[in-house]
């Protein structure tokens, strides 16, 4: 009897508490603020390590750090090895598909859209890169996607990067799904993997400026601004994902395919860390 009386009093009180809890609006998480804080910490790391290097100069990769290498690179850039690739990319960009349309039909601003990629597509719930969008345009128009991470795909990407030079890196992370993709990229960047148990950050944060054999290790800050690149080692132009795969090979990890979810998320994270820098691709590298 007493028990029932207590219950009769408690139940309405419990209902009131739960009603208040339900009606209280959920605290919205500001995912962009979380990313901005990461970006600030990431960039501060390099600013502290190399106080003499201007932030904007990180867009030039390792050449921001090493004066001798920079001089050689600047001489090479007078007659850039990727010049013909830009021309070929332009022709491919405007070349009509079988249906009469072209890549130019898919992209606004004549293709000067480098600064809009990568982005998180909220409908598809995935990161979309420039190279992915190029191939999706081809498929949507009845063409075969270009294979791999070099050749025609890299040439068109190089042309689009070239006409986008000066655009600001400004990756937006505006939802939980986008933040989840960003976190996956972040975990990839800092996680050690492969037979050598090494991470992206192990080399491109902690060993930046030191020598790996004859080469100076480049900073992760600014990595994504200047791709695709013409690498002397490759003897041709290649995409960022080709470089990712090469790094993974070097540390004894099985590389992921170009445009895999893993590499797109990594690109998404790494590009966000360069927010505020300018796109300056394509570029030449050793």
């Amino acid at each position: 009897m007493i028990k029932n009386r207590i219950l009769r009093r408690l139940i309405p009180a419990a209902l009131m508490v739960s009603a208040v809890a339900v009606s209280r609006p959920a605290q919205a998480v500001n995912y962009q603020a979380l990313v901005d804080a990461d970006t600030k910490a990431f960039q501060s790391y390099f600013i502290k390590e190399f106080p003499e290097v201007k932030l904007a100069d990180y867009a030039n990769g390792v050449y921001a750090l090493n004066e001798d290498s920079r001089r050689q690179w600047q001489e090479m850039e007078e007659f850039p090895p990727y010049e013909l690739d830009i021309e070929a990319g332009k022709a491919l960009f405007n070349k009509p598909f079988a249906n009469g349309k072209s890549l130019a039909s898919c992209f606004p601003d004549g293709g000067a859209v480098r600064g809009k990629y990568p982005y998180f597509d909220e409908k598809r719930k995935e990161v979309v890169t420039l190279e992915m969008a190029i191939n999706e345009c081809r498929v949507a128009n009845g063409e075969q996607p270009w294979p791999g991470n070099k050749g025609d795909l890299a040439k068109v990407s190089a042309y689009m990067a070239y006409i986008s030079r000066g655009q600001k890196v400004d990756v937006k992370v505006g939802s939980k799904a986008a933040y989840d993709a960003y976190l996956k990229g972040k975990a990839f960047f800092y996680g050690k993997r492969g037979q050598l148990n090494m991470s992206c950050s192990g080399c491109h944060m902690e060993y930046v400026g030191r020598n790996l054999r004859a080469e100076v290790v480049s900073p992760a800050l600014g990595h994504t601004t200047h791709f695709p690149v013409f690498r002397s080692k490759w003897g041709e132009i290649g995409t960022l994902h080709r470089r990712y795969a090469g790094c993974n090979e070097n540390i004894g990890a099985k590389p992921f395919p170009a445009q895999s979810e893993e590499y797109r998320n990594l690109e998404f994270f790494q590009t966000a860390m360069s927010n505020g820098l300018q796109y300056n691709g394509p570029a030449s590298r050793k």
Binding site: Y45, A187, K192, G194, N197
Partner: protein, 103 residues
Amino acid sequence: MKKVLSLLSLLVLMPSSPMLLAGPAESSPALIDQAEAARKEAAALGYEWRDTAKLIASAREALQNGNREESDKLASRALVQGREAVVQAKFMEKNWKMMIPAN
């Protein structure tokens, strides 16, 4: 802390870890199957190593050619790699944030 974790991750991955070594009594096909299962588990976690599949393919080829001893050697190496990769994946899944360099 990060250095301790890095060292720990390295120790965990040392090939001499007894828990990672294959049982000596396994026959070649069973050893290859175990190696392939470990490789698949590592791949599912996104941490497959570069040479594991190649070692398994070589072990299969050696077995087909009647070279049982060589097959066992290769399959054992593949099994160790597969298991180490799984340990690495699970360790990093929990501890990757500790690998962020101090600012």
